[in-house]
C-alpha cells in the first residue's frame, strides 16, 4: 500500500510532523511506500539547518525517512514565502508545485492530512 501524507504545520509548534514521522517509519518498516508533501509551514521541517540541542531533530527525522525509502517534497511557493531556499533543504528532497500534490493524491491508496 502507498500512504500519502500532507503536513501543513511547522516543526516544534505542532506534533503533526512527528505523527507523520512515526506513522511513516512504521509503514516503511512493514514494506509500504510513503510519500510526504510538506505544505505551508510544513516546509520548515525540511530545513537542514534545524538545530535542536537535546531534542529530536526533525530535519534529521525527515532524512531518516528518505533513507528508508520515503519520498518528501515541499511546496515551492510556500518555501519562497518563508525564505527557504533550495540550498537550505535536506538532501534528496525537492521543492515543487501543486502538480506533485495532485500526483500524490492520485497514486496513494490512503491520503492523510495533518493539519491544525
Amino acid at each position: 500500500m502507498k500512504l500519502g501524507f500532507v503536513v501543513r504545520t511547522g516543526p516544534y509548534t505542532s506534533q503533526n510532523i512527528d505523527t507523520a514521522y512515526e506513522l511513516a517509519k512504521r509503514a516503511l518498516a512493514k514494506g509500504h511506500s510513503v510519500e510526504i508533501f510538506l505544505y505551508e509551514d510544513g516546509v520548515l521541517s525540511m530545513n537542514k539547518y534545524i538545530n535542536s540541542p537535546d531534542e529530536r531533530n526533525i530535519a534529521g527525522r525527515m532524512s531518516e525517512l528518505i533513507q528508508s525509502g520515503a519520498r518528501i517534497t515541499g511546496c515551492g511557493l510556500c518555501a519562497k514565502f518563508r525564505g527557504i531556499k533550495k540550498d537550505m533543504i535536506i538532501e534528496n528532497t525537492k521543492l515543487s508545485g501543486m502538480a506533485v500534490l495532485s500526483k500524490l493524491v492520485e497514486t496513494s491508496d490512503k491520503v492523510i492530512t495533518l493539519s491544525f
Binding site: Y39, E40, M98, S102, K103, V111, S115
Partner: protein, 118 residues
C-alpha cells in the same frame, strides 16, 4: 487516474492562511482533472460571504477566487447547520450551494480522498 476529492474549509478567511491555501490546493488538484468538491463548514463559511472588504487589511477577496473554481469543474458548498448557527441566510453569500449534514455525509462517503483545512 482522477480521484473524487472533498476539501473541507473550516477556518475563517484572513485570520489564518487556511482558506487561501485550501483555495490554492483546489486549483492545483482540480486543474489536474481531479473532481473536487469544496465544502465550507464551521467559520470557513465566511469565505463565501458577500460584501467582503479585505482591502482594508491589504488582503484579497477570497470569495472571488472560489467563484472561479467552476472553470475547473469544481463545486462550492456551504453547510446549512453552520450557516444557521451563525444567524446567516443563503442571501448573505456571494456563491455556493447550501447543503445539510446528511448531504455532506453523502459527499464524504462518495469521496476517494478528504482533505481538511482547519
Amino acid at each position: 487516474m482522477a480521484k473524487k476529492i472533498t476539501i473541507l474549509v473550516r477556518s475563517c478567511p484572513y485570520g489564518m492562511a487556511t482558506s487561501a491555501e485550501a483555495f490554492r490546493g483546489v486549483v492545483g488538484l482540480a486543474g489536474m482533472d481531479h473532481k473536487v468538491k469544496v465544502v465550507f463548514v464551521d467559520d470557513g463559511i465566511y469565505s463565501l460571504k458577500k460584501d467582503q472588504h479585505p482591502e482594508i487589511i491589504e488582503m484579497k477577496d477570497i470569495s472571488k477566487g472560489y467563484a472561479t473554481i467552476g472553470d475547473f469543474d469544481a463545486e462550492n458548498y456551504i453547510l446549512e447547520e453552520d450557516m444557521k448557527e451563525r444567524n446567516l441566510s443563503p442571501d448573505d453569500f456571494a456563491l455556493g450551494n447550501i447543503i445539510n449534514k446528511d448531504e455532506l455525509k453523502k459527499i464524504i462517503d462518495d469521496s476517494d480522498v478528504v482533505m481538511s483545512f482547519s
